[in-house]
Symmetry: C2
Subunit: 303 residues, 2 copies
């Protein structure tokens, strides 16, 4: 098995995790958590989302959170941005990097953001151009690549075409999203075989959810395909809006642990991550889905 | 990725699952659960253990459970047996098949059964000979193959030698055990490369625990190595005696779901398995670790 020597983890817990949690935390708790995450060795944290507060009330305090965090020079603090208004707010808040998103499924796009895919592409184009003009790097999420909660199967032709468009706008990396956690390792292999025929592996990140427990198996296939960037959430926070009670994003704890066991470097300190996980579990008062966290939470660690 | 067309699941929940659960169930509950499991399409159920009740009080009622279950002709009802006394009890109870066990780690062997590995091999030899003489097939577990809670790393030379001895006694299949869930996919590949140099893949089963969330990733590597028999527990029951709060065995639900998604047949009906999982969750009054179960438990299914 051929594996990369090192991997970059993009921590999406404060955004993708918290946006799907029942309990809405005060900004101070989010700030404390982001600060703890900054201290783990993670080089990238998606701090919040500047979508309209009406859509995601849990993240209505995005500007306050950005204003409150202590920034480390070697950490990128990114923001999710849906449109030009969101971009303006993200830039005022001082987001280091802009993340845009669209869906590969027409039905999911309409239900999620009330836009067709074509309209979403147009919005992404505008935000990307303005973001780049403001001197920010722009990263793109394509969601429901491995399946849609409304349409089921998603056409790989669509995914490939969207990648082409997004890269043509100047987006430096596309996060290939398994939004509802239905991807299986064989499908991951097939999707990546297809995408890597047209684009270099270094331009992709994988974004798995652990809804059906397959996230790490899917990561394994992606590693073998040469992908070296992975999105995950501290503690495995996040749930799934389409499956009440389900696990959330791939857990940063479990992902980093598996990578380290296989000799792959991440720069993330597992003990410090345990501490950051304890903090958010206490704030949310709900057991985190991460297996490593649950197996280790009672251990004494020095920090 | 080359995958087998079909896989056999050996359900170990009633034994390996319940032996590690805090709550001790009455025999009637176990009988009801085994009967539900028999109805899912599973062809193999390890019903209980005939170790001394002093060691595992949770399974002291093994004979009563065997006497109470309704047997289906196409299901093998197996029993774990530590010694000749246990074998006698298992045979009286009408176990279809005998499972023997030993550890690949000297320290774990002594702590677990108060025997050296050499003494354990001798006991396994006696039980196997007598079991075969009684007309039963005998299956062997080797535990701590991927790591020991006391010694850490375990020598592959020892594992290979133990396989050779067990097969020479007439054991038809060895279940390669990751007792504490520390195996990682790269290690699985290395261990299987080594074992399959000397023995055919058809003589092995893999027995993973999901303590650190890697069970399905480890299954994936085993499938690619040609292994077609897997131990798992309904709902992911079992915990880990060395990590309070940790996940248990690979969950039958998650395993079967992943296999089916990849087009691999198992004969197990996922809806019926959901029903059997609900039953045991209600009896234990503790949330099952299976991801598929948690994502689907609120769904209405016809049976």
């Amino acid at each position: 098995m051929k594996l990369p020597a090192s991997v970059t983890i993009k921590e999406v817990g404060p955004r993708d995790g918290l946006q799907n949690e029942k309990r809405i935390l005060p900004a101070a708790d989010k700030i404390a958590w982001v600060n703890r995450l900054s201290d783990t060795g993670l080089s990238y944290i998606e701090v919040s989302s500047f979508v309209h507060p009406k859509w995601i009330p849990a993240l209505a305090d995005a500007a306050e959170v950005f204003a409150g965090i202590e920034r480390k020079p070697d950490v990128t603090y990114a923001a999710l941005v849906p449109n030009l208004n969101g971009l303006e707010r993200a830039l005022s808040a001082g987001a280091d990097e802009v993340n845009v998103f669209l869906s590969a499924s027409e039905a999911h796009s309409r239900k999620n953001i009330n836009k067709s895919i074509a309209e979403a592409v147009q919005a992404v184009k505008e935000v990307t151009q303005q973001g780049l003009a403001a001197g920010k790097q722009v990263r793109g999420y394509i969601s429901t690549v491995f399946g849609c909660p409304y349409e089921g199967a998603v056409a790989l032709d669509t995914v490939e075409r969207l990648c082409e468009e997004l890269f043509s706008f100047g987006i430096y990396e596309i996060s290939v999203g398994d939004t509802i956690g239905v991807a299986n390792p064989q499908q991951v292999e097939l999707v990546l075989e297809r995408l890597l025929r047209s684009f270099p592996a270094g331009q992709f990140a994988m974004h798995f959810h652990n809804t059906y427990g397959m996230a790490l198996a899917n990561v394994l296939k992606s590693l073998e395909a040469g992908i070296t960037v992975y999105d995950s959430s501290c503690g495995g926070l996040g749930g799934c809006p389409y499956a009440p009670g389900a696990s959330g994003n791939a857990a940063t704890n479990d992902l980093v642990h598996m990578l380290h066991k296989m000799g792959i470097q991440t720069q993330v300190d597992e003990d410090k991550l345990l501490g950051a996980s304890r903090l958010i579990e206490q704030k949310l008062e709900a057991a985190l889905p991460s297996h490593v966290y649950q197996a280790r939470k009672h251990q004494t660690v020095s920090r």
